[in-house]
Amino acid sequence: MNILSRFGILLFLLGFGLWLYTLTLNEFTLTESVVKTIIKPEHQATLGTKLTPMLNQTYARGWAFTADFDRILNNLNAEYRTAQQWDKVIYDEYSFAISKAAAVGPLKTQPWRWLFLTLGLAALGALIFFLPDLQRLSGISNNGVFQNPATNRGWIGWLVGTFLIGFYIFLYYYPQYLVNWTMLVDPVSKALNGGEASRWFLYGFLYTICVVVMGLRMLLKYRHSRYQQVRTLSVMFFQTAFAFLIPEVLVSLNMPYFDFKNIWPLDYDFFFDYNLNGLIQSGHLGIFMLVWGIVLFVLGVPVMTYFFGKRWYCSWVCGCGGLAETLGDPYRQLSNKSIASWKIERYLIHGVLVFAVVMTAMVLYSYFTGSSQVLFLDSYSVRSAYGFWIGGIFAGVVGTGFYPLMGNRVWCRFGCPLAAYLGYWQRAKSRFRITTNGGQCISCGNCSTYCEMGIDVRAYAQRGQDIVRSSCVGCGICSAVCPRGVLNLENLAEGSRVTVAPEVLRGNEI
């Protein structure tokens, strides 16, 4: 490793270490005014009084404070439950808000400084780490991928995976322990939407940083390939503008939070009552958003996929795809290529699609009839089951947490219902295919190995068959890594796709 890279990685580790360290910063004191402002009036007499023992006590650690608060709230709820006073049980998510309000200290007074010292240094360090790549002559650079513990499922991979899984679990289910991190980005949030940062703001911020920093790495790594560069710029743009900035600005203008490029059923709460009501109550713009979302799904997907293949979305626009193609790029070779995993993939992804459709149908039924009971099921519990198992565990914890272990498209490949829908069109009616170049394939296996979707590209290439697979996201990496120029992503007349392998390959004149 050259000296600049070493310096970069040190800087990154310093920033990352300080970031973890910020979780220990701040002091937490519950004052009466905090209780007054955060706890709703109807809970002041009950929860409010129960909190008295905590009042004006100073906690040196956020997690001790939060744990105490959670215990008091849970004990209170337990009392109600034993007394069968169901209407009194408190479901409000006070923990995050109260922890944040009770915090005093450096993160609150000097958030910019700490933001720079943590995420700032980490991002800078990462960029410096990538920079020496420029000294190399341009071309494919996969040297040592399977000899490096970071990218061959070695100890660094396991460490990173464990961190990511932990991060997602806390983000989704225990955000109250991450209040310090949200404080780092409070000033950014205030500048964009006027309010303090929620955990979702923190997530969006981190997500965008990752896409941008690792996107720059992609641009360097593939500086010999214009396709890769244009595509990477596209996902960087859509993440920064459409997924991050525009929705926040909309909120600051008192309009509904809306990501114009997110499509149902990936955007599974699009048809939830609060979203529909929110849009309908937001005047013309809201109605436009509602119609836009439906048109994207009904017309946008089939039409765009017909002309360009599923890639127009999955590896050019989508946020999940954007993260996979940037942060996840070092892990693409870890996806399983076996027929067995393909079988599992088909069951899972179509299963999730059916689940999403049924769940949405039930939610809409409830919306229009006002009855939450659909047949023998409660549409609200189905909806929250989907949110927990698919939206949280599958898409987040497994989908991203397992990047360093199962490749960068775990969610896109096995879970995403929108990918299933796009994939259906890609196979059924599309001009897109990956053409194989006659008899030039030498069966080396680079294409299959680096296909993030676990497609055994070689199996097609070595028998002269075009790759027409519903799962192909058109990332173009197979074409880039092929040392013999065998593969090319093309949009041509629909009927010209070679979907049946020729008897013998080109060149043999028997």
């Binding site: 002559l137 390939s225 396709y227 027929i339 013998v504 060149g507 043999n508 028997i510």
Partner: protein
């Protein structure tokens, strides 16, 4: 009928697969190298860490059970052609596949073939296909026994290279063919300084015309390889292991590894002194039949008695092995079929420069052929088109850093399209990815 194939390389395996497609015959494939078919062309990527060995296997391990192709790992030591019997080495064994958990879970499991528990050291065949590939060519100057001196052909060579390059700083590669440049790239990727000794005055100029040869030579040097042209090796020095080499000019170059890549030759040693007709390789007619009944040969080990026009008697290329496999399967199962490899094509990669060739582009242009060459002023991109002076029909393409469409080039060559036609239709032959810079305008302006 029992068909036995010696060699599980591309030639032998393609024959086995096509025989299975066409028939129900019993098929046995024997190899001493690895349990399963792997892609020899990918050996370099395993060393460089792009791939693992398992990624080089084009078929999953259950594939052989599913297609009822019996696999034996072992060496054929002797063939008794009269008795139609093979003599296997004592360590030979049947290759069996244990389904993985994932395979069991998804029912990707096939009945294993009923083979005897202990393998007899003699195996009878009804028809025999010899597909034993090549061995590295060697010369007396290279002491085989000295540690650190090696060729690169087999999986075992790769393992040896891994062992031989622990803590190595400098290496010398002798010979500048395709395997030589691959080996240079491999060693270079591990930070080993490489000196390449090439006998010719310009890199690979017995195959490449002057300009291309210069382009590639320059590129190799840009990567930091010390390319020595017109240089030959005299001796290798060292006691326990190689310490230096001396060139014919008397220069001594210190090194801890010597890679011998002066070409390959048919692996037919063990067949000498038998009724089988052998010259440089196993001699076959156009039906891939040898001089003995029911014995065929395919792949690298073959020497064609009467090569087709534009083809050599011995062609050690991946796809020709595959084509011979396809052809011999027909001859054995179906109809006697001649081997007709069509218009020549090939490809390679020199570090970062991809190379494709179609038709005939000899190093020295014959007098009745004209040649036009375009090279980008700054980038390493080039295209050569040869055509017949008399009727203007194109005869061959050389492309560097530029991908061409096999189908289109082949069609133009077969139809004898004129150079003018090709110039006008050049975009049809482009196979570069979307958004890549297009050079047709520049090319047609110069050609």
């Amino acid at each position: 009928m029992h068909i036995v194939i010696i060699g599980n390389g591309i030639a032998g395996i393609t024959a086995a697969r096509h025989i299975r497609k066409l028939s129900d015959h019993r098929i046995t494939v024997i190899s001493k190298e690895t349990d399963h078919f792997f892609s020899r062309t990918a050996l370099m990527y395993v060393y460089m860490g792009h791939l693992r060995y398992e990624h080089t296997k084009p078929y999953e391990d259950w594939f052989w059970d599913k297609n009822r192709i019996e696999l034996i790992r072992g060496t054929v030591e002797k063939i008794d052609f009269d008795q139609k019997t093979l003599h296997l080495s004592a360590d030979s064994r049947v290759v069996k596949h244990q389904p993985t958990l994932l395979e069991k879970l998804t029912k990707t499991v096939f009945p294993t073939i009923q083979t005897p528990q202990t393998l007899p050291t003699e195996l009878k065949y009804d028809k025999l296909i010899i597909a034993t590939g090549s061995v590295p060519r060697w010369a007396d100057e290279y002491p085989r026994e000295l540690a650190g001196v090696q060729g690169l052909y087999s999986f075992q060579d790769l393992e040896l290279l891994e062992k031989n390059t622990q803590n190595v700083q400098k290496a010398v590669i002798v010979g500048g063919g395709l395997i030589g440049v691959e080996m240079a790239e491999m060693l270079h990727s591990r930070g080993i300084h490489v000196t390449m000794l090439v006998r010719e005055a310009s890199y690979w100029n017995n195959v490449l015309p002057h300009e291309e040869s210069a382009l590639i030579g320059q590129h190799i040097r840009r990567h930091g390889i010390d390319l020595r042209l017109s240089t030959e090796l005299r001796t290798v020095k060292g006691r326990a292991r190689v310490e230096a080499i001396q060139t014919k000019e008397g220069e001594e170059i210190a090194c801890q590894l010597v890679g011998v890549t002066i070409g390959v030759m048919p692996n037919v040693q063990f067949l000498q002194n038998s009724p089988l007709r052998i010259n440089r390789g196993v001699v076959v007619n156009e039906y891939l039949e040898t001089n003995l009944p029911d014995v065929y040969a395919v792949g690298d080990c073959v020497e064609h008695q009467q090569p087709r026009e534009g083809r050599k008697a011995i062609e050690q290329i991946w796809y020709t092995g595959r084509m011979m496999g396809e052809t011999v399967a027909r001859t054995i199962c179906d109809t006697r079929t001649a081997y007709q490899p069509g218009v020549f094509f090939n490809s390679a990669k020199f570090f970062d420069i991809e190379y494709q060739t179609y038709g005939d582009v000899p190093a020295q242009c014959p007098p009745d052929v004209a040649s036009v060459y375009w090279q980008h002023p700054t980038k390493e991109v080039a295209l050569r088109i040869n055509y017949q002076k008399e009727n203007q029909a194109v005869t061959g393409f050389n492309a560097f850093g530029l991908r061409l469409r096999h189908e289109v080039c082949e069609r133009w060559l077969k139809q004898h399209q004129t150079i003018e036609y090709v110039r006008q239709h050049l975009p049809e032959a482009n196979f570069d990815p979307e958004f890549f810079e297009r050079y047709e305008a520049q090319i047609t302006a110069t050609l």
